[in-house]
Symmetry: C2
Subunit: 519 residues, 2 copies
């Protein structure tokens, strides 16, 4: 018997086996798994009542909310593709992505009415706009808000999952990738199903886990939580936006057992005076990711939350988790050595193989010092980029290239040592240095420029630009920053701009960013 691998089956299992249990808690509201499933089916009915076609893209522009969590299943039940948008992008980014994806429908938090209004005329395919909360009427938006609309629907009967093509796209996530141009990452039903099983196995997720959704769900498949926590019947606790005091309060109130964090978030928790005022004893795991961690950060988190803390690594293209830095019992590590291991990139989850390759695409030794490009093969690697042709199983495509430089030690632990693709990670957000460089070059006074990430205690790193001006052109750093602010999402704007005489270059004329980083 072969039943298609689809996360829809996790929803059914949770409803059948944990129907009366609280599935989702958001502020003062909560929903059981029966209610959650019912609402997902109503969302599907709504989409189908609009005549949405199989494979159509349904976009959500939302902070963490029950509606967004419902979309992870409801959109799939309608045989459509979920397209979650990063709320931190600009109106211009939304325009590019919605047009590139040819989305049919956009559900949006009222906070984004102004930016969507701005670009609405340019959207070529979106023909319905639904606000997630009532009361902010516009003439171009559906007269009823999300909750009213789905209440009007009768829940669709259970979808027979057997006709689903497990290799069809279930989710489309845009990532800045290597080129600076946002690209749509196609994750299949099978990718999501296997990712959930494989990550849950390694994280040891159980039905008594209560996870706080600190990481935005629109980020790289919500680190897989929508699927894996539902699969085992765990409890989702939502927070609209990450905020340290609220995090402590919700951990105490709902006896939270685990959460994920990028180092920036973790630091803000550790530096918050309120941490001692709350009972955090329910915690069993903090999972760090999104940027490199330190043994000291791991130690401080373990002390504060009295639980295990491990780092991890992933990419939108890999559903996302590739490695988790759990210790291996047989190595018998203790003390500082153990903390170092937990702060590493980690070792692959089941279902994932890794190698490091040299420039001739040959595997390099796992000696902990030789660095090569980290490549990944396995169950959770995307189907491909939207609009890009590819034949996944062609020999040349045997590995997915992460674009990251890494070492692997003799025990199989990966350590990312550099980013080949020059993406700056600031507060867990990917910033393409190429995009910033293009923006700066748009300014008439700029001759050439280079953008690098520089360490920052709060954000991990922030972008810094080095600019060479055209001769006889005069401009100020302030004017260039204003130019950037006009063009870019706020978090992408360079923190500082240095005006320099020239940029360090290699033989081929390419800027050597390493020299800029070394100062």
């Amino acid at each position: 018997m072969k039943v298609p691998l689809t996360p829809i089956r996790f929803l059914y299992r949770a409803r059948d086996q944990f129907g009366s249990k609280r599935a989702i808690i958001e502020d003062e509201d909560s929903w059981t798994y029966s209610q959650f499933s019912d609402r997902c089916h109503r969302l599907a009915s709504l989409l189908l009542s609009w005549g949405i076609s199989t494979g159509a893209r349904v976009a959500f522009l939302s902070y963490n909310s029950h509606a967004l969590l419902e979309a992870y299943f409801g959109v799939l039940l309608a045989e459509a593709v979920l397209l979650p948008l990063n709320v931190r992008l600009t109106a211009n980014d939304f325009r590019l992505i919605l047009n590139d994806a040819e989305a049919d429908v956009l559900f949006l938090d009222p906070d984004f009415l102004p930016s969507i209004e701005e670009i609405r005329g340019d959207l070529r395919t979106v023909h319905r706009f639904v606000q997630l909360d009532p009361g902010h009427q516009r003439d171009w938006i559906e007269p009823h808000a999300y909750d009213e609309l789905i209440q009007q629907q009768s829940p669709a009967p259970d979808k027979d999952v057997r006709p689903i093509d497990e290799d069809s796209t279930a989710e489309l996530f845009y990532t800045s990738g290597t080129s600076g141009q946002p690209k749509g990452v196609m994750l299949t039903h099978r990718n999501l199903y296997l990712h959930a099983l494989e990550v849950a196995l390694m994280l040891g997720i159980r039905d008594d886990d209560v996870q706080l959704h600190t990481i935005p769900l629109f980020h790289v498949n919500g680190w897989g939580t929508p699927q894996f926590l539902t699969c085992v019947g765990g409890c989702h606790v939502l927070m609209r936006k990450f905020e340290p005091q609220t995090t402590f309060r919700l951990i105490e109130k709902h006896r939270v057992t685990l959460f994920c964090a990028v180092p920036t978030m973790a630091l803000s928790l550790l530096n918050h005076a309120g941490k001692r005022d709350y009972d955090l004893s329910s915690m069993r795991l903090v999972n760090l990711g999104g940027a490199s961690s330190t043994p000291d950060l791991v130690r401080r988190l373990e002390e504060t939350f009295s639980c295990q803390c491990v780092a991890g690594y992933g990419l939108t293209e890999t559903s996302p988790i590739v490695t988790l830095a759990f210790p291996k019992a047989h190595l018998g590590e203790r003390g500082e050595k153990l903390l170092q291991t937990k702060a590493m990139t980690g070792y692959p989850i089941p279902g994932i193989e890794v190698e490091i390759l040299d420039h001739a695409e040959q595997p390099l030794p796992w000696d902990g010092t030789t660095a090569g490009e980290l490549v990944v093969r396995g169950d959770t690697v995307m189907k491909g980029y939207w609009r890009e042709k590819q034949d996944d199983l062609a020999p040349s495509d045997a590995w997915f290239r992460t674009g990251d430089l890494a070492t692997i030690n003799p025990h199989g632990y990966v350590r990312i040592v550099d980013r080949k693709k020059d993406v700056i990670i600031s507060g867990g957000e990917n910033i393409s240095s190429l995009e910033l460089e293009k923006t700066l070059l748009d300014h008439p006074a700029v001759l050439e420029c280079a953008v690098i990430g520089v360490p920052n205690s709060r954000w991990g790193e922030v972008p810094k630009a080095f600019v060479v001006l055209r001769s006889q052109q005069a401009t100020s750093q302030k004017e260039l920053l204003a130019h950037c602010r006009q063009q870019l999402a706020r978090f992408k704007v360079p923190r500082s701009i240095a005006l320099v005489e020239s940029l360090p270059k290699g033989g081929t004329g390419k800027v050597i960013k390493r020299k800029l980083r070394e100062g």
Copy 2:
């Protein structure tokens, strides 16, 4: 990217990530995961050097041993199908199965040289016999034993798993099934891969787990242990045959964390005087299966091993685990109620759905009292029976029928209440009452008969026969038992035979076994 789901990938992961760790312990020998992988590859090389063809059946007749564990991966690496034989069957059973499966090669423990010698002339396809231990030479057997043969091979290079058809058969297990005629159950690479992930997730298997192989590996896919423990890099401790004192000794010596047991084995452990002489503090889980358990048995096991004990349920046809009786935290059960839950059949692992159907194949309510035939759908249900045509995804075949009558309670817990198919489970072995009835009917004095299982404190149940003699024919119970002993494996022989005047029958003339059971 789509990489075929095959347990071979678990072997690679264990070798790459846990290469220097002890993978297998057997008596005074042990092998690391690197060595284990090397030996599996040598076994594959051996089979390939013999020109074994893709999909050929390679039979093993062995107690638990490193060789049998290697076969779970080595045979698959050669693209052949593993056929593990139950050592408790008769020479006649071996003949039937080896001919039905058209096995090419038979690896056998020297204990079975006499029975195989007896049937060798009748084996139509087996053309090579390899003994697993040296020194018992026969002219029809390979001159070198298993270990010598694989040492002579150079390990094959890693098999590229990408061309493997994940829906091809990896293992063939014979089960007495409903008809009494042994039938080959085809488990695919995909079945085994998903079963491993789904069972390991629910059992919470980790790399620091040390599992004692108390259950024969040839039994229903070794309850999935060969795959799921390898997947996470756990340690396999082998015992040739189950024996209580040895069990205690090995738990202490190797700091075992979990084992599986049928109730008969569990009882023999509990009744063993030596249990107090050993340090059993490493244990974290006992998994009971193979026959129904009681709250008292669960309680006594939890006390003796100071760890959690849960029951479970499975079938050869389902890879095998269908349900595990873990408590659900949100129900907050305590004391006797909790023990009752842990002794139940359990609730489905991820990837499995269950229903109970009435005679019209309609789903029955989950009220804990209404009984119907338990049916199963999911990732781990076999491809089909060998030699039987079937179209797995046809609507009529939407569910696999277990042949067991069950209730499901409102919380989703299954309880098997009767066996529709009349299989007697004795000491964890399936005995078809039909087979025994056929054997008895072969005796000239027997007019009609019926065989049922009766409770037995040691074996769970044992077969009991009710026989009506032909008029003017005289025979004794002793003579009928002697007849059975000649025809049947020892464990199948009825424990008692009652000579009766008539059998209770229903309207259609069918024997009502329920009445016999009620005495």
